[in-house]
């Protein structure tokens, strides 16, 4: 099939990755990146907002051609859809209330790199000591959830939330002691919480979070995937991704090779 047109879907409610403006238009990191990518791939793109819950089935049913919604590339997802190469990869970290005794836990400010299944990391062991008996909130069914279960499941109580935003509210309410999530997401959430929350412990990066975030595409549409791969490569190479990332996240989320 000759791809001259494509529909891209995103949630439009996951600031700052993507969000809806009060006039109903879409904005944020991803819509702006999408514009660049489509130009380079010579595809006329339409952006439509849709609900996160129905996104992957709707893609496979043919309602859209591309998902661009901070979609982490995971093995499970690879079984149902195809991914482009990643256009972003973000670190993860713990968050807690600024006035909590857990604030400024060991390793705060440092960055550690981890691989899947890695154990015996001394920074993590130090956190285990500090977080014993506490409650950690995570967003259900994410790579971060798996990490927390694997490393803290035996010493802390873990509570799963449907969305990160819900978890943040409970962190503020004091129903839970800690949260663990995408650090870029957190940085933005802290602003909304008027500085009541802060990072604690080290930032964790590396292959443990998989390859990063990529575009989701139907398995059959390999030609479309290839076109976007080329476009992403060029946008990464000339720093476009980095510029947009600095604009929206204040940090660079371009995947490090």
């Amino acid at each position: 099939k000759d791809w001259t047109k494509a529909t891209i879907t995103l949630e439009g409610a996951y600031a700052p990755w993507n969000l809806t403006n009060a006039d109903g238009t879409l904005g944020g990191f991803e819509p702006e990146l999408a514009k660049v990518l489509c130009e380079r791939a010579k595809i006329e793109c339409t952006l439509v907002a849709s609900d996160w819950d129905g996104m992957i089935p709707a893609l496979n049913a043919g309602k859209f051609d591309v998902i661009m919604d901070a979609l982490s590339i995971t093995d499970e997802r690879k079984q149902v859809i195809d991914f482009t190469i990643p256009y972003a990869a973000t670190p993860a970290a713990f968050a807690t209330a600024k006035d909590s005794p857990l604030a400024k836990a060991a390793g705060t400010g440092a960055t550690i790199k981890m691989t899947p299944g890695q154990t015996g990391v001394k920074e993590i062991d130090a956190l285990k000591e500090a977080f014993k008996g506490k409650t950690i909130g995570i967003q259900a069914a994410t790579v971060y959830a798996k990490f927390v279960y694997d490393n803290f499941g035996d010493i802390a109580e873990i509570r799963e939330y449907k969305t990160g935003a819900d978890r943040d509210l409970d962190l503020q309410n004091g129903r839970i002691d800690l949260g663990f999530d995408d650090a870029v997401y957190f940085a933005n959430a802290f602003q909304a919480a008027n500085g009541a929350l802060d990072f604690t412990g080290p930032e964790i990066i590396g292959p443990i979070w998989g390859e990063g975030e990529g575009l989701g595409i139907r398995k059959a549409d390999t030609d479309l995937r290839d076109k976007f791969n080329v476009a992403i490569k060029s946008a990464l190479a000339d720093g476009t991704v980095k510029d947009l990332s600095m604009k929206w996240f204040k940090v660079d989320v371009s995947p490090q090779q």
């Binding site: 439009g12 409610a13 809806t20 009060a22 439509v48 609900d51 049913a61 959430a189």
Partner: protein, 241 residues
């Protein structure tokens, strides 16, 4: 105040989008209620017919569509319906995607669910009609259809109004689930606004209030209808000391 600005109608205000969304919710619900009324009447008729096959059909319909979570039914109709339409399109030589529009899929799904509730409401109302009054109609030779139109329908409507009010409420809230089809109704717009501005409480409270406004409008209509329908009734049992 920042929150006032967020709710206003200016370029940074969500007012216009929220009002549009409320109207969309109203449209989906009203369409669904109409679809449900037709289905409900048919199913209630089947359940009351006495014909074992029709009764079984009616029972299966009401059990399944009341017993299965609404979200699943909406999924089935939205995705299942789309695949069906697409494959019909393919068979007729059209390449590509042919979806049910979000509105149609949503209203149809909520309507089918609403139909199962309305069927029960209608059946209950029918059973509440005094048997003697039906006999009096038969006795002057009214045939089935006429008995239905002249005696049963007016009384069923009278007894069904409170129940229909409830079904309207249910459908109003089921319509919130239609957001999975991407339709910008009230619930989804509130969530999008909350997620985009991170003002969760503000937009959920405002969304809730807009639902309450829709409810109070419809309550007014249903109460009026009930009063009208009950003017032939003696004071209710609890009315007197």
């Amino acid at each position: 105040m920042a929150s006032l600005e967020l709710l206003g109608f200016g370029s940074t205000g969500w007012g216009a989008l929220l009002i549009l969304a409320a109207l969309m919710t109203l449209a989906v619900t009203a369409t669904a209620l109409a679809i449900g009324a037709v289905l409900g009447a048919i199913v209630a008729g089947a359940k009351l017919s006495g014909n074992p096959l029709l009764v079984a059909f009616g029972n299966v319909y009401t059990t399944v569509f009341r017993g299965v979570p609404e979200l699943l039914i909406i999924y089935l109709i939205y995705f299942g319906g789309s695949s069906a339409v697409t494959s019909i399109g393919k068979a007729m030589g059209y390449e590509g995607f042919l979806g049910l529009p979000s509105f149609a899929a949503g209203a149809l799904a909520v309507g089918i669910i609403s139909g199962s509730y309305q069927a029960e409401v209608f059946r209950g109302a029918y059973l509440a009609i005094a048997k003697g009054e039906l006999e009096a109609a038969s006795a002057i030779g009214m045939h089935r259809g006429m008995r239905f139109r002249r005696i049963i329908i007016p009384q069923v409507l009278r007894f069904a109004i409170p129940g229909l009010g409830n079904v309207w409420q249910l459908s109003l809230k089921d319509s919130a689930l239609v957001s999975v089809t991407g339709l910008a109704e009230l619930m989804r717009t509130s969530q999008v606004a909350a997620g985009s501005t991170r003002q969760y409480f503000l937009f959920f409270i405002v969304g809730g209030c807009l639902y309450l406004i829709l409810t109070s409008l419809s309550d007014r209509i249903f109460n009026g209808a009930e009063r009208r329908a009950n003017r032939s009734m003696p004071a209710s049992a609890m009315g007197q000391a």
